[in-house]
């Protein structure tokens, strides 16, 4: 097994990028994720794996560099934080339309606007419902540990190339900045030119006499063809349900459930312990994929529980999907802190007691 290190989430992501056989990283500094590009520039992977690392002139340029690289069959990624991700939205929409695989890490900070540099989870809607223009979805993974910041890089590429779709890793300032033990996976070699041509026959690698020219575009001015294309994308997004992921902690006998992802899930994990110590049968349903969303499993769990509380560092975004999953009969309450405040396990446990168990 791989080497064990103590690292920040952002550093683990950067190290995992090199180990996952990334061909190119393109990014622009922004707090709280600048360690990603700093780590890569210091590691000089172009001397070892041949990975390209470039500090772009803006997030707009970064995402369009991803478009170019992905369109040419390469494994590419960027990282940013909320305001920078907003700037990328146009490019992300183009990549979804042109069906280009890539990884985009969002180490979320509070908004709106310049907001704060402190952690937040207020970009859930933007990540899972669109954000850019047009009907499209991203495959969204939500790491809750430094370990997952590393592990979701190869998983992210697997999903990105399986579905030919951008993958967003929706992290937050806590996961990006905190240090934890991480077991790093063994390096995976970058694809050779032959492998790229074989795995990505659609990519613009240069038109050889044995095939027609390859075109990467999101444009089709013919309404019938464009409708067909968008319906094909819809079917693809629906098929992503086969890769839905979640974790259930003390759920089997639970009367009440926390539903959370990312750092909020870590807070809830402690709150479950506190509540269990007081005799309450409380469990945690942790989402790992935010899109695809585990509607079916949450609906099933609503039949064995008496109430659910989502904990999010937002005014309540994911809670809307939980309510969609369970229908009117189940009590679903949102508890959240905003402005860069991370709730503590005691206040979360109190909220569960007051608003769900006793409420």
């Amino acid at each position: 097994m791989g080497e064990i290190r103590l690292m920040k989430g952002n550093e683990a992501f950067a190290e995992a990028a090199i180990r996952a056989g990334t061909d190119g990283y393109f990014g622009y500094p922004i707090t709280p994720q600048s360690e990603v590009i700093e780590y890569l520039m210091a590691a000089k992977p172009w001397e070892t794996t041949g990975m390209v690392v470039l500090q772009a002139e803006s997030e707009i340029a970064s995402i369009n560099m991803l478009y170019g690289g992905a369109g040419a069959g390469k494994k590419v990624m960027t990282s940013s934080s909320s305001p920078g991700i907003s700037l990328m939205m146009e490019g992300i929409s183009y990549m979804a339309g042109a069906e280009l695989p890539c990884i985009i890490l969002n180490v979320v900070r509070g908004g709106p606007g310049l907001g704060t540099i402190q952690p937040s989870q207020s970009d859930y809607f933007q990540a899972t419902k669109g954000g850019g223009h047009g009907d499209y979805r991203l495959f969204v993974l939500a790491p809750a540990s430094v370990q997952e910041m590393a592990d979701f890089v190869p998983l992210g590429y697997e999903m990105a190339f399986k579905y030919r779709n951008p993958v967003m890793i929706l992290s937050d300032g806590v996961i990006g900045q905190m240090m934890e033990k991480v077991q790093l996976f063994d390096p995976i070699p970058r694809w050779t030119e032959e492998e790229i041509i074989q795995k990505c026959p659609w990519a613009t690698t240069g038109k050889t006499p044995n095939r027609e020219r390859n075109i990467i575009t999101s444009l089709d001015l013919d309404p019938a063809r464009q409708e067909k294309h968008v319906l094909k994308l819809k079917a693809k997004y629906e098929s992503m349900q086969q890769d839905v992921r979640y974790e259930e902690i003390e759920v089997d006998d639970a009367d009440y459930l926390f539903v959370a992802y990312g750092s909020s899930a870590r807070v809830c994990q402690k709150a479950v312990k506190l509540l269990r110590a007081d005799g309450y049968k409380v469990g945690l349903f942790r989402l790992i994929t935010l899109f695809p969303f585990p509607y079916k499993r949450i609906e099933e769990l609503s039949h064995q529980t008496k109430g659910m509380m989502t904990v999010e560092m937002s005014l309540g975004q994911m809670v809307e999907d939980v309510r969609l999953a369970v229908g009117k009969d189940q009590k679903v309450v949102h508890y959240g802190r905003v402005g860069g405040i991370v709730p503590n396990p005691i206040e979360v446990a109190e909220a569960m007691k007051n608003q769900i168990i006793g409420g």
């Binding site: 061909d23 190119g24 393109f26 390209v52 470039l54 772009a56 002139e57 803006s58 707009i60 340029a61 970064s62 369009n64 560099m65 991803l66 478009y67 170019g68 690289g69 369109g71 040419a72 390469k74 590419v76 146009e90 490019g91 183009y94 042109a98 613009t204 690698t205 240069g206 038109k207 050889t208 006499p209 020219r213 390859n214 075109i215 990467i216 575009t217 999101s218 444009l219």
Partner: protein, 266 residues
């Protein structure tokens, strides 16, 4: 018509009598450009150079947003269509990730010199090993004739209906002179395509741009001053006269930077 049997032509259609053929680096699709527009000529020169250098399998083109948004329908090479203004960001990544490929971006004045100015300048300043072909017709053709950054002072467009004036619209933008001053550019030239001799010069310039990529010299930047008779609302012949009298007075033809050295006072 007289009875011309196939037998008669048989004696004439022979390889040794071939004086012209369409390059296979262009597709058979009918060009969507307006009659009289320079795009088609520039496409063909680009395609002919790619054929002559034998690099069809190593060339990756980038189409912009604007009249040439569908350039991939006409050029028989692998191509990507970029978001408005971002062609050189795509080109940067492709060139760095595939260093032995020939990457060429093909952009109009709105794409390259308005919405994409940042990407243009930074790609040139980094000296990306790419060829940028910049069609300057001083107007937004695709959207129906609005003011472009390169529109001449006094020129009427749908968003400068009383003529471009400095207080309202600012000055006409000579971005080519600007990028020539960046250390990353190796070859910067301004060409035109409204006369056969100029077309031949443009072809030489494109060839130079591809040779520079081959020799890893940095950025080559070719502006082509072209007419837009539809956008200018002129007949093609009048448009060419207007181009010669007005556009070329402000956008002076010829090399600006050769082998990394400025050859003209800017």
């Amino acid at each position: 018509m007289a009875d011309v049997t196939l037998d008669v032509w048989k004696d004439i259609i022979k390889p040794e009598n071939l004086v012209y053929r369409r390059t296979p680096v262009m597709t058979d699709n009918t060009l969507s450009y307006c009659p009289g527009c320079g795009h088609g000529v520039v496409h063909r020169m680009l395609a002919e150079v790619i054929e002559e250098m034998g690099i069809q399998d190593k060339t990756i083109g980038i189409a912009p947003v604007g009249c040439s948004v569908l350039a991939y329908e006409f050029l028989n090479i692998d191509m990507q269509q970029a978001a408005h203004g971002r062609a050189t960001a795509l080109a940067t990544a492709i060139s760095r990730l595939w260093p032995d490929r020939f990457v060429v971006s093909y952009q109009g004045d709105g794409d390259l010199a308005a919405i994409g100015t940042n990407e243009t300048i930074h790609a040139c300043n980094r000296g990306e090993n790419i060829l940028i072909i910049f069609i300057n017709n001083g107007i937004y053709g695709m959207t129906g004739g609005q003011l472009a950054p390169t529109t001449l002072l006094g020129a009427q467009t749908s968003t400068s209906p009383y003529g471009r004036n400095v207080e309202l619209h600012g000055y006409s933008f000579r971005i080519t002179e600007l990028v020539a001053q960046l250390p990353g550019t190796y070859y910067v030239t301004r060409q035109a395509v409204h006369k056969p001799a100029l077309v031949r010069k443009l072809k030489k310039a494109i060839r130079q741009g591809f040779e520079n990529i081959k020799n890893k010299k940095g950025t080559s930047f070719i502006e082509v001053v072209s007419n837009c008779n539809s956008g200018w609302k002129m007949r093609p012949v009048d448009a060419i006269k207007w181009l010669e009298d007005n556009m070329l007075a402000y956008y002076q033809l010829g090399d600006i930077k050769v082998n990394g050295e400025l050859v003209r006072q800017i």
